[in-house]
C-alpha cells in the first residue's frame, strides 16, 4: 500500500477547514434597541407627575423588581414594582396572577401607559401585562425599608413612601381588632384594621375580601409587619402581600380583654356558642343593618306577625379561676315592645338549658333604651364566679302578639 497518513487525512483536514469557515451567525429579525437615555428611574418617573395625567408617547422604560403580586388575591390587576430610587403601582388591564411574581425583575415599556393620580395615589395605568411588562429575571431579593408609622405620614399631598415596601417594627393591632378577621371573606368586602405602635401612633391595614387571608383572625401579638404603603385621599394605609408579612408573635404592650365575641366572622356559633329553641323556631342571626359593615347578633319574632318563642343563646365555658377582677360587658340595642332580653350565668351547665340552674343577672347590666340605640352594659362584676365552667346565656322570649328585636355585640370578658 502506497498511501501514507498524509494522503488519507490531508483532503479530509482541508475539507474540515473549509467547512468550519462556513459556519455563520444565526439570522435575527430587527430588534429594537433601548438607548441609555430612554431608561428612567421610578423616582424620576413619579416626578413627571405634576397636576395632570400624562400618557407616554415615546419609548421610555423603567426597570424594577416586583414587590407585591396578585398571588394572595389581596391585589387584583395590580402589581407594585420598586427600584433603588422609588416604587410605583402598576394598574393593569388584566390579571397577571400566573405571569408575574414577587422577586421578578421586569422592564415596563411606558409607551401608551398613563401616569395618573387617583385619590392621591400615583400609579401607572392601562398596563397590559402581556405587552408592557417584560420579565428580565426571577428570584431577586427585596429588602423592605424599616420605617416608623410617623415616617409614613403625609407630607404635602403624598406619603413619601407611597408604593414602597416597608417594615414596621414593635407594632400590634388594637384590641378591638384582634377578635376580627383581616377582611370580610363572605360578603367579600375590604376591611380596615388598625395597627398601633408603642407610642400610640396608628395606621390602617386595609385588606381585600377576596384575599386568601380575608377570613383569618388578625394576629394578636406584637412584632413586625411588612407591607406596601398606599394612600387613599388623605389616609395612608398598608397593603399586606401575604400572611407571612405579619410577624406579630411577641407579647403585647396593650393588654386586651380575655375574651371577646364581636360577630365579625358572621357566625353566631363560632367559638363554642350554642342556641336552643325552647318554644317556637325563632333563632339568632347575624346582621349589620345600620352599622357600616360591622356585624352583630340579632333576634326578632316578627315577620309580618309575631310568633311565640323562647330562644337561648349560650356562651362557651370560661375559666375565671386565675382572673383577679373578672368583669363582663357587652353592647345591646333593641326596638319594639315585648319581653326584655334576659341575661343568666351558671357554673354548672348540664348541656340542656332547661335542666341547668341559672342565676339571673339581667339587672346587673345597663340595657339599650330602645330605638336601636346601642348601649354599653357597663362592667358586670364576676368576682363571685372565679372558677371554671362559667357560662352566660341570653334568653329571648316573644308572644303571638308582641316581641322586641334585640341586638347583641362585643360580648367581652376582661380583667379589671
Amino acid at each position: 500500500m502506497k498511501m501514507t497518513k498524509n494522503n488519507i487525512f490531508l483532503p479530509f483536514a482541508v475539507g474540515l477547514l473549509i467547512f468550519s469557515g462556513c459556519l455563520k451567525e444565526y439570522d435575527s429579525p430587527p430588534v429594537a434597541e433601548l438607548p441609555q437615555g430612554n431608561i428612567v428611574t421610578i423616582d424620576s418617573l413619579r416626578k413627571i407627575y405634576t397636576a395632570f395625567d400624562t400618557t407616554f408617547t415615546s419609548d421610555l422604560s423603567i426597570f424594577g423588581t416586583v414587590t407585591a403580586d396578585e398571588v394572595s388575591g389581596n391585589l387584583y390587576k395590580t402589581l407594585y414594582i420598586q427600584d433603588a430610587t422609588n416604587a410605583i403601582q402598576l394598574s393593569m388591564t388584566a390579571s397577571a396572577d400566573r405571569l408575574f411574581f414577587e422577586g421578578d425583575e421586569v422592564r415596563v415599556a411606558l409607551k401608551g401607559l398613563t401616569l395618573s393620580r387617583q385619590n392621591n395615589m400615583i400609579k401607572l395605568t392601562n398596563v397590559n401585562p402581556e405587552k408592557n411588562i417584560i420579565k428580565q429575571r426571577v428570584g431577586e431579593k427585596i429588602t423592605p425599608k424599616v420605617v416608623t408609622i410617623q415616617n409614613l405620614n403625609i407630607n404635602g399631598i403624598y406619603s413619601p413612601y407611597q408604593g414602597q415596601l416597608v417594615q414596621l417594627n414593635h407594632v400590634e393591632f388594637i384590641c378591638n381588632d384582634i377578635w376580627s378577621t383581616y377582611a370580610d371573606p363572605i360578603a367579600q368586602y375590604d376591611q380596615n384594621r388598625t395597627l398601633s405602635d408603642t407610642l400610640g401612633n396608628t395606621i390602617i391595614v386595609r385588606s381585600s375580601g377576596y384575599s386568601s387571608f380575608a377570613g383569618t383572625t388578625v394576629a394578636g401579638g406584637k412584632g413586625s409587619v411588612t407591607a406596601i404603603v398606599s394612600q387613599y385621599n388623605n389616609t395612608v394605609q398598608l397593603t399586606l402581600r401575604k400572611l407571612d408579612d405579619v410577624q406579630l408573635n411577641g407579647s403585647r404592650k396593650v393588654i386586651c380583654p380575655i375574651y371577646m365575641k364581636n360577630f365579625e366572622d358572621q357566625s353566631i356559633t363560632s367559638g363554642g356558642w350554642t342556641t336552643k329553641n325552647i318554644v317556637g323556631n325563632i333563632n339568632w342571626s347575624i346582621a349589620n343593618i345600620g352599622s357600616n359593615n360591622t356585624y352583630y347578633a340579632m333576634i326578632s319574632n316578627y315577620s309580618g306577625s309575631n310568633t311565640a318563642c323562647e330562644t337561648w343563646l349560650v356562651s362557651p365555658a370560661f375559666d375565671l379561676t386565675n382572673v383577679a377582677n373578672p368583669i363582663l360587658y357587652f353592647q345591646s340595642a333593641y326596638k319594639y315592645s315585648g319581653d326584655p332580653l334576659k341575661l343568666y350565668v351558671t357554673t354548672n351547665y348540664t348541656g340542656d338549658v332547661t335542666t341547668t340552674t341559672w342565676t339571673d343577672i339581667t339587672s346587673s347590666a345597663i340595657w339599650s333604651a330602645g330605638s336601636f340605640v346601642w348601649s354599653n352594659s357597663g362592667n358586670i362584676n364576676l368576682s363571685a364566679y372565679k372558677q371554671a365552667g362559667v357560662r352566660f346565656a341570653f334568653k329571648y322570649t316573644g308572644t303571638n302578639s308582641n316581641g322586641s328585636t334585640w341586638e347583641i355585640d362585643d360580648f367581652t370578658i376582661n380583667d379589671l
Binding site: M1, M3, F19, L23, S28, G103, R107
Partner: protein, 840 residues
C-alpha cells in the same frame, strides 16, 4: 490426499459460511432497526402527527458501500439522515417500479414491513448516481428484486425474539427457482406480534404476504406477477415534553394510553393495509437490449385513530394545563407539589383516563333539534363529549413503468424509461368509538361559537346537525389526485481510465383536490374540484470516475433539477377547502459531490465532500391549537436549504478473521433564505398571518445529528461463528425550529437586552451521546440444511437519556418560552433481537 480433500471441503464451507453469516447479520440488523426511524426518516414533527413510519434504513444496510452499510446499521436509532436529506430524495423501487408515496414523495417502509426475506435482495446506491431504472434524486435509490426467477431456490423458516416494536416474528419463505416448466414461484409470509412493545402501552400485530410468479415463455419473453401487502395494527408512542419524562423518570413515557376497566388501551391505533400488485414483462430483445414493462396497482386503507372531544376538558395527560408546571407558583409550592405527586403516583393522572371519559359521556343527555337536517327531527340521548375517531387516508393508484437499456458497444450503454401514475387518496374521518355515548354531532365546535350564522358550524351543509354513530364518515372528506408522468434518458461510458455518465429527465405533475362535502364556513370553495396545479420539471445529471490506478479513484457527480412541490404542502387547509398556497412553485436542487476511493483487497476507503442547495421549497405543518380550538396551518414558501459536509468510510481486514471498519460524517444542514410564512386556521377564512418574513438564515434544519461516527470490529471465527461490536458517537443534533418565533412580529415590544429575544431566537442543541452495539452468530450445517442463530444487542450500556431529536412547539408564549417547551424524543435503552433460522 484425503486430508487435502477435507481441507478443501472445509475451506469451501468456511468461505460459504462466512458469506452466509455476514448476510445474516445484515438481515437481523435490518430487522432490529425496523422500528427506528433512521436515515431517510420523516421529520420528528410529522411523527408527532402520526405520519407513516418511513424507515428505509433496512434497504441500505446491505449496501456494498462501507459508509452506507455502517450508517444503516448503527445510525438508525438516532434519526440520522444521510447527508441530511429528507426521505423524498431517496427512491425505493421494486422491479424498477418506484414505490415512493405520490403525496409526500417518501418511501414508506411499513407497506412492505415483515418481508425481509424478499427486501434483502436489492440493489442500493446512495448519492447522485447513474441508474438504468430512473433519473433518481440526490439521495440515491434501492431496487428490491422481486422477480421469482431471481430468488434463491429453497425454503427458509425463521423465528425472531425481540423487545422492540414487536416481540415475536415468524417468517416462512419458499422459492422454487426456475422449474422445468419454466415457472418460478416465490412465497413469503410473516407474522409479527407484541402484546406490549418496548414502549409502555404500545402493541403490534402485523402479518405480511408476498407472492411472485414468473413464467418464462422463451429466451426473449418472461411474464411475472408480484403481489404483496402488510396488514398491520399497532399502538402509537407519543413525543412529549421534558417535564413528563422527568416526572415519570421514563424517557419513553407514552401519553397515548390509559386504563379502561383495568385494561391498557392505546388511543392512537394505526391500522394500515395497502397491498400492491404488479405485472412485469421482461423482454430481452437481443443480447444487448432489454425492455422491461410493468403495470401496477395499489389500493387500501391507512387509518390512524385519535381522541377528539367536544365541550370537555382536554384529556391528554401531558397537555400543558394538565402538567404540574401549569400550577407552579413560587408563593404556593404546596399546590405544585401536590400536582407533581398526583402526576407521579396516580396512573389516571399520568395517563389517559378512559373510565372518566366514559363517565362524562354517560352523563350528557342532550337533544339535537332538526337532526340530520330534517325539520322537527329531535334526537335525544347522551351526546359524546369524548370519542375516538379514525383519520383515514385510503389510496388507489395505478400506472405503468417501462425501462429500456441497450449496450451500444464495449464503451457505451444507453438507457431510458417512462413512468406514469394515476393516484388518488381519499381522506376522511370515521367515528371509531363513541366511548359509551349515543351519538356525536358533526359540527365544528369552535365555529359554532364564533359565528352568528348557524350554518357556519356545519362541516357538511347537505346534512346539517349530522348525527354520527360508529362507522360513520364525518368531519371532512376530500380526495387528493396526483397524475405523474416521468421520463428519463441516460448514457453511460466505461473505459480504462475514465467512467462517466450523463442523464436527462422530464416530468409532468398535475394535482388537485376534490372536496366531497360542502363545509359551512367555506360553502363556495369546499366542494368539488380545486384548480389543477400542474408542473413541468426537468433535470440533468452527470458524473465521472477517474482511475488514478486500479486502486485509487477520484469521482465527481453533479446534478441540477427542478421538482414539483408535494401536494401535501400545496393546500392551505386541505381538510376544509380548495385554497392553494400562494406563490406555489417548483423547487430547484443543485448538488454535487467529490469522492476519493481506495480499493485494496484488505483496505477500502471512501472520502466524500458534498454540497446541495435546495431552493424554493414549500414547508407546511399543522397542529391543533387549543386556544383557537382548531387546526392551525403554517405554510412557508421560498425556503432555501443548504446541505454540505463530508463522509468517510473505512474498512480494514487486519487478518483473515478480524475486520475493522469506520464511518464518519460531519455536516452542516442549514436554512439559507428568509422565507415567507402564511398562517391559516381550519375554521376561519381570515388568516392569522400573511406572508410574514421569517428570519431563518443560517438556522440549522435540525432533527438529526450532523456529526456521527462509528468504529466497529468483527471477528469471524473459523469454527463458523462470528462476533463484533460497534461504538457510535453522535453530536450536533439541533431541535427543529418554529419559524414564527423568528419574525419581526414575534420580537415586537422587546428590546435587545430583554432575555425574551434570546429565548425566542435560540436554537437548542441537544447533548452528544454514544452507544455500543454488539452482535454475534453461529451456524451449523446438518446434511444439506443450515441452522443459524444471530443475536444483536443494541445500546448495551442501556443509555436512556440520549435525546435523539426534538422540535419547538408551534404554539408558543413569547413572554414565557417555557410554557410550551420543545418536544423531545429519546433513544431506546438496551434492546435485543435474536433469531433462529433454518434453511432447507
Amino acid at each position: 490426499m484425503r486430508n487435502f480433500k477435507l481441507i478443501l471441503v472445509a475451506f469451501g464451507l468456511l468461505s460459504c459460511i462466512e458469506v452466509q453469516s455476514q448476510n445474516d447479520t445484515l438481515i437481523s440488523s435490518d430487522d432490529t432497526l425496523t422500528r427506528f426511524v433512521p436515515q431517510f426518516s420523516t421529520t420528528i414533527e410529522q411523527l408527532d402527527d402520526e405520519a407513516e413510519n418511513q424507515d428505509v434504513s433496512g434497504l441500505l444496510q446491505s449496501s456494498r458501500d462501507v459508509y452506507t452499510s455502517i450508517a444503516g446499521f448503527n445510525f438508525g436509532a438516532v434519526r440520522f439522515r444521510i447527508r441530511g436529506y429528507d426521505a423524498e430524495n431517496f427512491t425505493a423501487m421494486m422491479n424498477g417500479v418506484p414505490l415512493n408515496d405520490q403525496e409526500t414523495g417518501r418511501a414508506i417502509w411499513a407497506y412492505w414491513g415483515g418481508l425481509n426475506d424478499i427486501t434483502r435482495y436489492q440493489e442500493s446506491r446512495i448519492g447522485i448516481t447513474s441508474s438504468q431504472l430512473n433519473f433518481g434524486g440526490i439521495g440515491g435509490y434501492s431496487n428490491i428484486i422481486a422477480r421469482a426467477s431471481a430468488q434463491r431456490k429453497g425454503n427458509r423458516v425463521s423465528y425472531a425474539f425481540a423487545n422492540q416494536t414487536y416481540d415475536h416474528r415468524l417468517m416462512v419463505t419458499t422459492s422454487t427457482g426456475l422449474m422445468k416448466n419454466n415457472l418460478a414461484v416465490t412465497f413469503s409470509g410473516s407474522l409479527r406480534y407484541a402484546d406490549e412493545g418496548y414502549v409502555e402501552g404500545t402493541f403490534f400485530r402485523g402479518a405480511s404476504y408476498f407472492l411472485s410468479v414468473e413464467k418464462k415463455f422463451n429466451e426473449k419473453h418472461s411474464l411475472g406477477f408480484v403481489g404483496f401487502g402488510s396488514p398491520t395494527v399497532s399502538g402509537g408512542q407519543s413525543i412529549s415534553v421534558r417535564e413528563a419524562y422527568y416526572l415519570t423518570g421514563n424517557n419513553q413515557y407514552n401519553s397515548y394510553w390509559g386504563y379502561q376497566n383495568g385494561e391498557k388501551r392505546n388511543s392512537r391505533v394505526r391500522n394500515t393495509h395497502k397491498p400492491m400488485m404488479m405485472l412485469n414483462h421482461y423482454f430481452k430483445i437481443n443480447s444487448t437490449t432489454n425492455l422491461n414493462t410493468s403495470l401496477f396497482y395499489t389500493f387500501g386503507k391507512g387509518g390512524q385513530t385519535r381522541l377528539n372531544w367536544y365541550d370537555a376538558a382536554d384529556p391528554r395527560p401531558d397537555y400543558y394545563r394538565n402538567l404540574p408546571s401549569y400550577y407552579y407558583n413560587p408563593a404556593d409550592i404546596a399546590t405544585y407539589e401536590l400536582y407533581s405527586q398526583l402526576w407521579q403516583t396516580d396512573v389516571n393522572t399520568q395517563q389517559l383516563n378512559f373510565d372518566q371519559m366514559y363517565f362524562a359521556n354517560s352523563k350528557n343527555l342532550h337533544s339535537v333539534l332538526d337532526a340530520n337536517g330534517i325539520k322537527g327531527n329531535t334526537v335525544t340521548g347522551n351526546r359524546a363529549k369524548y370519542i375516538i375517531e379514525e383519520y383515514r387516508s385510503d389510496v388507489q393508484q395505478y400506472g405503468f413503468n417501462t425501462t429500456f437499456n441497450h449496450q451500444l458497444n464495449d464503451y457505451y450503454t444507453l438507457s431510458g424509461g417512462i413512468y406514469g401514475s394515476f393516484y388518488k387518496s381519499m381522506n376522511f374521518k370515521v367515528l371509531d368509538d363513541l366511548l359509551g355515548a349515543d351519538y356525536w354531532v358533526d359540527v365544528d365546535r369552535f365555529a359554532e361559537r364564533d359565528f352568528a350564522d348557524e350554518s357556519a358550524a356545519q362541516t357538511n351543509l347537505e346534512i346539517p346537525n349530522h348525527i354520527i354513530k360508529k362507522g360513520d364518515k364525518f368531519g371532512y372528506d376530500y380526495d387528493i389526485n396526483v397524475q405523474n408522468l416521468n421520463s428519463f434518458g441516460q448514457i453511460e461510458a466505461k473505459s480504462e481510465k475514465i467512467d462517466w455518465y450523463a442523464g436527462l429527465n422530464f416530468s409532468s405533475t398535475v394535482f388537485w383536490r376534490t372536496g366531497n362535502v360542502q363545509n359551512g364556513l367555506f360553502p363556495e370553495s369546499s366542494k368539488g374540484d380545486s384548480d389543477k396545479e400542474s408542473f413541468i420539471n426537468f433535470g440533468v445529471k452527470g458524473g465521472a470516475t477517474y482511475k488514478i490506478t486500479g486502486r485509487h479513484l477520484i469521482g465527481v457527480n453533479a446534478t441540477y433539477f427542478t421538482a414539483a412541490p408535494s401536494s401535501r404542502d400545496a393546500f392551505v387547509s386541505p381538510r376544509t377547502r380548495n385554497q392553494i398556497v400562494d406563490n406555489l412553485k417548483s423547487e430547484t436542487t443543485t448538488s454535487g459531490d467529490v469522492n476519493y476511493m481506495i480499493r485494496y483487497p484488505k483496505f477500502k476507503m471512501r472520502l466524500t465532500g458534498f454540497y446541495t442547495s435546495v431552493k424554493d421549497k414549500t414547508w407546511s405543518r399543522s397542529f391543533f391549537h387549543d386556544e383557537y380550538n382548531t387546526y392551525v396551518n403554517y405554510m412557508m414558501t421560498g425556503v432555501n436549504q443548504l446541505f454540505m459536509g463530508t463522509e468517510l468510510g473505512l474498512e480494514f481486514n487486519i487478518s483473515p478473521t478480524i475486520e475493522v471498519s469506520t464511518a464518519f460524517t460531519m455536516g452542516n444542514y442549514t436554512y439559507v433564505s428568509r422565507p415567507k410564512v402564511t398562517i391559516s386556521q381550519d375554521n376561519s377564512i381570515k388568516l392569522l398571518a400573511e406572508n410574514k418574513l421569517v428570519y431563518l438564515e443560517n438556522y440549522k434544519i435540525g432533527g438529526m445529528p450532523e456529526t456521527a461516527a462509528s468504529i466497529g470490529a468483527k471477528y469471524n471465527a473459523p469454527k463458523f461463528w462470528f462476533a463484533g461490536a460497534n461504538f457510535n458517537f453522535f453530536m450536533d443534533t439541533y431541535i427543529e425550529i418554529n419559524p414564527d418565533r423568528r419574525t419581526e412580529e414575534a420580537l415586537q415590544g422587546f428590546v435587545s437586552t430583554d432575555p425574551q429575544v434570546t429565548n425566542l431566537l435560540y436554537q437548542q442543541r441537544l447533548d452528544d451521546s454514544y452507544t455500543l452495539n454488539i452482535f454475534g452468530g453461529k451456524s451449523w450445517k446438518i446434511k444439506d440444511y443450515f441452522l443459524r442463530i444471530n443475536v444483536n444487542v443494541n445500546n448495551i450500556l442501556d443509555t436512556k437519556d440520549f435525546a435523539t431529536g426534538g422540535f419547538e412547539q408551534l404554539r408558543y408564549d413569547k413572554q414565557n418560552i417555557n410554557k410550551f417547551p420543545p418536544k423531545l424524543s429519546y433513544m431506546y435503552g438496551r434492546t435485543y433481537f435474536a433469531m433462529i433460522s433454518f434453511t432447507f
